[in-house]
């Protein structure tokens, strides 16, 4: 089974959800070999009913205590540009496609997604280019996202504070 997990975090991003489950994009996903689609729609105005995408096993929910299982089981994560969602997906070493909500201007959360994109850790598009991106996306060119090094911070602080 090849799973896609779509997440919008604690926001609402109806345009993304509607786009992903549009007939056209469902067809592209099937063509690319995906068989299951899970949607986390947050505060979105519409909770799609399960099984409404023909050809794909689809499930949808608003929130869960933890989405880490959904992340782990996914082969592709499609996410809003939120820092928390991006870091969680990359931390789980998942192929990540970030869809930017271009109706949200000047959101500092975009900074991180943009930077991670220019460092080749994720793919990046908008709702209007989603179909094209799904058709052509190639994750093999991306760089792995290595975990941060808090031990360097600890070493520095020990020295600065005189801890032997």
């Amino acid at each position: 089974m090849t799973r896609v997990f779509v997440t919008v975090g604690t926001t609402k991003f109806d345009e993304l959800i509607e786009n992903v489950i549009s007939e056209e994009n469902v067809k592209v996903l099937i063509d690319r070999g995906y068989t299951e689609l899970t949607l986390q729609v947050g505060h979105g105005s519409h909770l799609p009913s399960p099984g409404s995408c023909s050809g794909l096993k689809m499930d949808a929910f608003r929130f869960k205590d933890s989405i880490s299982d959904d992340m782990k089981q996914a082969d592709l994560v499609i996410s809003h540009a939120g820092a928390g969602s991006c870091l969680e997906a990359l931390g789980a070493q998942k192929a990540l496609l970030v869809v930017v909500n271009d109706k949200l201007m000047d959101n500092h959360q975009l900074e991180l997604a943009r930077q991670l994109h220019s460092n080749s850790h994720l793919l990046y598009c908008t709702c209007s280019t989603l179909t094209e991106t799904l058709k052509t996306m190639d994750f093999s060119t991306l760089m792995p996202f290595l975990p941060g090094q808090p031990q360097n911070f600890a070493k520095f602080l020990d020295k600065a504070l005189g801890i032997a």
């Binding site: 820092a83 928390g84 870091l87 500092h108 959360q109 900074e111 991180l112 943009r114 930077q115 941060g148 090094q149 808090p150 031990q151 360097n152 911070f153 600890a154 520095f156 602080l157 020990d158 600065a160 504070l161 005189g162 801890i163 032997a164």
Partner: protein, 219 residues
Amino acid sequence: MELQTLLLGVLSGCSLIILCFLVRLFVVLREGPECKPGAKGPVCILVVAGSGGHTTEILRLVGSLSQSYRPRHYAIADTDQMSEDKIRTFESSHGDALKEHQYTIHRIPRSREVRQSWSSSVVSTLYALLYSVPLVFRLRPDVVLCNGPGTCVPLCAAGLLLGMLGLKRVVLVYVESICRVENLSLSGKILYHLADYFFVQWTSLKDKYPKAIYMGRIV
């Protein structure tokens, strides 16, 4: 005429107090690098946990610290149950099993909600200061560690006040969130001038803020 003299007296008195205050602040800020609380034994640390992502990030940092950092006190916003749960889970898996109760959690009013306006932020920050000063004076931490939630500004200010009064030199450690790539957060902009050790996690910020410490991604 008499009123004028009186006013002049009051004004110059106030200026003198402010001047003393600034001189003292300058002196306290300069002695930061010489402050080595770890040389005398365990380091008492006050960790300011924000909400959501901030808390996850700061717990990664705390998780890298040795058992020399104890006791650990956590300050969280009073409306933030999720952070409390995260901290308790973290402490039960990382804390030294033999030395239980080496941590405490304290709640203070949130000084700034997301998207709150500047002017009302000032009022609520002052309100948070009312809670922060007694807390910090009671805990007397050696170190305050924070990473950007609004709550950390009044707590750091209270820490500085301890130093300025000569009661205890509190070392302020600030780690800007990984989410900040191009610009510092509001707390970061303020604490850049006050923190003893100020970390950023992207080179673009290091270029803009040369006093900052950059050692790659540390969360």
